[in-house]
């Protein structure tokens, strides 16, 4: 460990879950996991790909797809402006990245959602990329691995966003009919329209510890039912207890676990 006094400010941060001061380099080494409490931080899509794929094997498809703002949506700021800000903030064009990669030597089609980009909400681009990933998995006869994280359908694209749920589910029906393997890795948060479409349709559903998973927002449920929500409601553990998750896998084990499942399925 480096001497605490010798470390410039900014290299230490307080863990949002346990409150401990943690050395950022340590957290990074643990793939964004707190060394004190194992809290799995949200990570952006590029970092996630670095964590999952064999070095320098990721080959991205459909890199520049962007929304045409079909609704000309404007709330407090125009949607076009919001997109520009998100693009400037993240350096990404949209909330999902797809491509081909190797995971422990096994070739896969990999899709990764980016919770840093409008909370990875799904509009026409995320829907299209998810569909293209599924189609490519059929074409190349490769397993499809998708890391989900999303606040749900993107309100600023209205019914266009809603339609993407049907579109992705239909593409996955075709992948299934072709005998393709589809592995979902649900990460924090996997909710709303993404949860009610492609995130719930995996042949295998893996989830990171304590990831929030659910359809309706907890506040909405609380207001509707007027009751206290049970402890641990809508976590990965809750979803596993109720039969909707196959395995909870710590981030450090994801590569091994995915490779193992691919081998079991003979893909």
């Amino acid at each position: 460990m480096v001497d605490e006094k010798g470390v410039p400010a900014g290299l230490w941060a307080r863990c949002a879950a346990c409150g401990h001061m943690v050395y950022e380099k340590d957290v990074e080494k643990l793939l964004g996991v707190c060394p004190e409490c194992s809290h799995h931080r949200r990570v952006d899509a590029r970092t996630r790909i670095r964590h999952l794929a064999d070095p320098d094997t990721f080959e991205e498809f459909s890199v520049d797809l962007k929304s045409t703002d079909p609704l000309k949506f404007k709330d407090r700021i125009p949607y076009k402006e919001r997109l520009k800000r998100e693009q400037a903030k993240t350096g990404e064009v949209e909330a999902m990245i797809i491509g081909k990669a190797f995971i422990r030597g096994r070739p896969v089609i990999l899709g990764v959602m980016n919770p840093m980009f409008i909370m990875a909400s799904m509009g026409a681009v995320v829907g299209e990329k998810m569909v293209r990933a599924a189609e490519r998995a059929v074409e190349d006869n490769l397993p499809l691995v998708v890391v989900t994280a999303s606040g749900g359908a993107r309100m600023q694209e209205g019914v266009v966003a809603l339609t993407q749920m049907a579109k992705t589910a239909s593409a996955l029906a075709q992948l299934d009919d072709a005998g393709g393997l589809y592995i979902v890795v649900a990460t924090d948060p996997t909710t709303g329209g993404v949860s009610a479409s492609f995130a719930s349709l995996g042949d295998i559903v893996l989830a990171e510890p304590k990831a929030m998973m659910g359809f309706a927002g907890p506040r909405v449920i609380q207001n509707t039912m007027n009751v206290e929500l049970p402890e641990g409601f809508q976590t990965a553990e809750f979803m596993m207890e109720h039969g909707f998750v196959d395995r909870i896998v710590p981030r450090s084990d994801l590569r091994t676990e995915i490779a193992r499942i691919i081998d079991f399925c003979g893909k």
Binding site: L71, K74, A124, E128, G158, T163, H242
Partner: protein
């Protein structure tokens, strides 16, 4: 009309006959005033015996033109109000007016029977069908029993089970969509509402029997979509279909539900807008003043649409039907752009043209047939 001037009661006093017993919406205030004027005329006739038929006739015509004006210019928020009108015909009404020989089927074979979605064998036109519709309930007791049409996972699983039954016996599926959203609750999450809706979307995309879905009132979010992956999707003229309720959208984006009118506009949730966006195939017209003013007329329109759609869908071979459904869903609402792909396509076209020119030049030189000669020869 004989009783335009009011009905005479046994005791000789005259009471005003209301035009109808419609519950008026806020934006319909001008109609309330006209109706009030007519009532006053009738009362005046009762007291003075002065003939008021001409005046009443004039007022009635004013009523009709006002109604028409209001309904041809509905704002998106007004459309939402009409779609949620307490007297708007529901699935249970259409089960009486459009469908015959209705044989309700219950239960998801797993957890229970959700009253928020009704599933039934029925006949419509010359077709035997499986009809599946959200049930909002007619009175408060029914509404509470079916959670105001907000279905739990067991509702969607019941729907899918009955769709599979329909597939097995070659019956087309007719879905009537009318829900605010899927039920947001603890039990709903525990039993996997996400999984239930997702599974419906996937299985409806490959169900080997025709599916027709019609949004009859509210098309709210995933709860609506869970019954709306189909070969033909239509909306009633004054229904709406949206990713989120205007209230919910306003609360999130404007931080106050008061902005629901703005949200309703921004979300483009009317049948006109959805047609324009290509999110639906057809719009089924409603009588002037909305479905609740003439339930028989709107039922006839619905029946015509369902029967017409089934007639043409049943002519298709099943593999073609399913392939076309999937292609339709694939192309729907593809509102994205890719400068790189446009550039690549342009370059590919240029290259193709260059190759063709080169081949035609070389074939001319070598004296072989050019493409044109081949075609004409």
């Amino acid at each position: 009309m004989s009783n335009d001037e009011g009905a005479t009661q046994a005791n000789g006093s005259v009471v005003a006959v209301p035009l109808n017993t419609t519950t008026y919406l806020d934006f319909e205030k001008p109609l309330v005033r006209i109706e009030h004027d007519i009532a006053e005329l009738q009362l005046e006739h009762g007291q003075t015996k002065r003939s008021v038929s001409a005046d009443i006739k004039q007022q009635r015509s004013r009523y009709r033109s006002t109604l028409k004006r209001l309904y041809t210019n509905l704002t998106p928020w007004e459309t939402v109000l009409v779609a949620r009108h307490p007297q708007r015909p529901l699935t249970t009404d259409y089960l009486k007016t459009v469908f015959r020989d209705v044989c309700e089927l219950h239960g998801d074979r797993c957890f229970g029977d959700d009253d928020a979605i009704i599933t039934a064998f029925a006949r419509v036109g010359g077709h035997r069908v499986m009809v599946i519709g959200h049930n909002k309930g007619k009175d408060i007791k029914e509404r509470v029993a079916c959670n105001f049409g907000c279905a739990h996972p067991e509702g969607y699983r019941k729907a899918l089970g009955k769709m599979r039954l329909a597939q097995k016996y070659g019956l087309p599926v007719v879905c009537l969509v009318d829900t605010q959203w899927a039920f947001p609750g603890i039990g709903s999450e525990e039993r996997g509402i996400s999984h239930a809706i997702a599974t419906n979307l996937m299985e409806m995309a490959r169900l080997k029997t025709p599916i027709v879905s019609v949004v009859i009132g509210e098309g709210g979010s995933g709860g609506a979509l869970g019954l709306a992956v189909a070969d033909r999707v239509a909306m009633f003229q004054h229904s709406f279909y949206s990713v989120i309720s205007p209230e919910g959208c306003a609360a999130i984006l404007w931080k106050t539900a008061e902005r629901r009118q703005h949200a309703a506009e921004a979300l483009r949730l009317t049948s006109t807008e959805l047609s324009r966006l290509g999110a639906i195939d057809d719009v089924i017209p409603e009588p002037v003043g909305g479905a609740h003013r003439d339930p028989a007329a709107v039922a006839a329109n619905l029946e015509k649409y369902i029967v017409g759609s089934l007639d043409s869908l049943k002519r298709m071979k099943l593999p073609t039907l399913v392939r076309k459904r999937q292609e339709r869903v694939r192309q729907m609402c593809s509102f994205y752009e890719s400068p790189l792909e446009v550039k690549a396509a342009a370059e590919a076209a240029k290259e193709k043209l260059a190759t063709r020119r080169a081949t035609s030049r070389s074939s001319r030189i070598s004296g072989r047939f050019t493409r044109r000669e081949k075609i004409s020869g």
